[in-house]
Amino acid sequence: MINGKKIIVDGQAVPLDGEENLLEVIRKAGINLPTFCYHSELSVYGACRMCLVEVEGGGLVAACSTPPRDGMVIRTNTERVRRLRRIIIELLLANHNRDCTTCEKSGACKLQDLAMQLGVREVRLGQRDVRLPVDKSSPAVVRDPNKCILCGDCVRMCEEVQGIGVLDFAFRGSRVVVTPAFNKNMAEVDCVNCGQCAAVCPTGALVVKSEVDEAWKAIHDPKKTVIAQIAPAVRVAVGEAFGMPPGEIATGKIVAALRRIGFDKVFDTCFAADLTVMEETAEFTERLAKGERLPQFTSCCPAWVKFAEQYYPGLVPNISTCRSPQQMFGSVAKKFYARSLGIKPEDLFVISVMPCTAKKFEARRPEFNTGGVRDVDLVLTTQEVTRMIKESGISFEELEVDSFDAPFGFASGAGIIFGVTGGVAEAVLRAAYEKLTGKALSDVNFVEVRGMKSLKEATVEAGGREIRLAVVNGLGAARDLLDKIMRGEASYDLVEVMACPGGCVGGGGQPVPNTREAREKRGRGLYAADKLVQLRKSQDNPVVTSLYGKWLDEPNGKEAHKALHTAYSSRRRISGEDIELTGQPGAGPGAGTAEDGRCDGRVSKVDVAVCVGTSCYLRGAYNVLQNLIDEVGRAGLSDRVNLHATFCFERCDKGPSVSVNGRVITGVTPDKAGWVVENFIRPQAAGSQSSPSSSSSVDSAMRR
């Protein structure tokens, strides 16, 4: 609403319309002020100082963190401002590894862009001589602190939007770095591999881990039959690198490109999504009938699954046991398609083309294999496949469109919308409605669950009962919703979670800029593609039906379970050392003398570890620890026990957990400390020369 208030920007009057900061007003006036640390979806940080402007009577201010006031007179292009902008870029470049030509981000780097745009042709300062190690531990992203400009975009993305906080600033002054806790590697901490940090990073400090070379190697290997599966969200984004607008459907072009590159077959992950709908709907209607494990959470998003395993072990049983479409495809390909081709699973090389970096992690999960061979051999993101197309010199713009191969190239509209927030829920609804009512669904569009809002709720009446749905995107929003569910303040039957803002269309492997606007357009592209196909419902897909007839029997049946389902478990968040409590020399006073006492030839001690990770801590693990110390003392075993506190045996759902010589006992409430001493510690202490029990064995105090 126009309220008559305005500011003057470079001589032009610009009306104020509720903008929260000067930057938004100035950009509205058609002046694209440069920024590194400003993102409309994140909190204002004001660190990069690129958006400095002169305010008449107010000196220099950072536009992003200055609220507009009626009558302000702003100048964005004075000599002083332009000089300062260049100096800031020069200072950033002095601290930046400037190996631009070999950088993953070259061509898409904001620092490179702005240095060019602002006319920085010389860096008068020397190059920083300190080289910090590059972290390649994660399957999803590579972190190169030497390219970090400390804008904090990744820090705020991970904490504010994804609700995790893997990365933060550490140290001080010239030594400041953005790093995971204790300077650990990304793979050792609770990163869910969503790649949103890389999506917002303006430089090459955080980039998608490239597996392009491995893909070429497989393609050039004459022994391998290389097949591709293309996820839905890729087709509405891949064109962006070739001058097409976000959301334009490029399915035919990417199929043609992959075929030219040398893929033997090109299939559609949307087909596997149809399969997922069949399985997930059967599972959902069964749970609904029995009234158990509700709400059912979707399981397509690997970042969400890892998030739940780490933070919500109590809700893990509620996650659909369905594998994601990517993994269903891989399993079907390796188990059945390879057989039908008469080749061994290891000679069939499955490459996924995904919008997602977490899919790289998912494909490596040990449970997804066929006879020890990975079901999905390689995952390429949209960014990587774009690079392959460019590398092969194919002119994408002029490619004749081509169609997917049979049989796994045929998909319904329900499978296509899997790539956008709300799509999985809508696809399941299209199937569940018919299953519950026995009637054909006339209007397949469930518009209530569409759109980019972080949380959408809907109630659908089917077969005489109401189905309550929640659709959430962004893990921070998911955390809020899950906490509400845990507190009993909200109740649903089906909850769809996608980790990335906007769903897969906004995935960490999509082209940059991955803005809200781009995500919205890509989402609209998928809904348009859904409308273009004749079959809108997964249950109408004839290839899916024949697959059940030939190999899988019935949805959610025994055969289908073996090939298409999986199981989840709690997952440790951070690697690290234990807290020593008794029996070990502390790293401190008297260390030298205590060491002699340790080697006095006595029999080995019983190793007792109490988990003090979050789940166990909240269930009173500290009191368990105290009671154990007391009970061990009372039993006269103090000198026979090595007691320490540890972080996570990955039994979070059944905590508090205690391990005695590697044997994990769950459900050890504080009052059971004595029981643990008598039944586990004392026998071990008595026969501590005997072989220790296997580390995989688990006992539950609950069974008593």
């Binding site: 990365l167 806790a181 008794t582």
Partner: protein
Amino acid sequence: MPETGVHQDIHQEVQDDVHDVGREADGLANRRFEKVNEILEKYECDRAALISILQEVQDEYRYLPKEILTYVATALGLPPAKVYGVATFYAQFSLEPQGKYVIRACDGTACHVRGSQPVLRAICNKLKLKDGERTTRDLMFTVETVSCLGACGLAPVVMINDKIYGQMTPEKVTKVLDDIIKAERRRGEVQ
């Protein structure tokens, strides 16, 4: 032998010092961990009290062990990266084990011109600390240089834990360290 009154005082002080530190260090590791829990309870696991909590935890352990920081993050419901960020920001926190005796050799202007460098070299020689090493292998001594201890009249000055030793020379400081080491050895034999 320039055995002066000052020196005898130093000898007595060292005796007292060893005694104090020894008493404080007799607690077992679980006592310290118990103390961490008391600290967390005292501050009601309030995130806003993170710095105070870390200060008190450091008083217990003489440094901030990573696993304890993870535990504090767990109890406060904060990402460990945030706690690590705070712990590395402030110079008062150490994430590396500190020696039982923290030696702060002043190298401010007054101390420097009166010969603090030879004193520092003598300390490092005595403790067999190579370039860049701050703490002895047996975790008995940590050596730091500081810019001023506010006792310029006694320059060159060395501070060991809470005690000031003034008018140091390489010989005198070596004697001080010898006394501490001897006293520690006696303590070890008694145990």
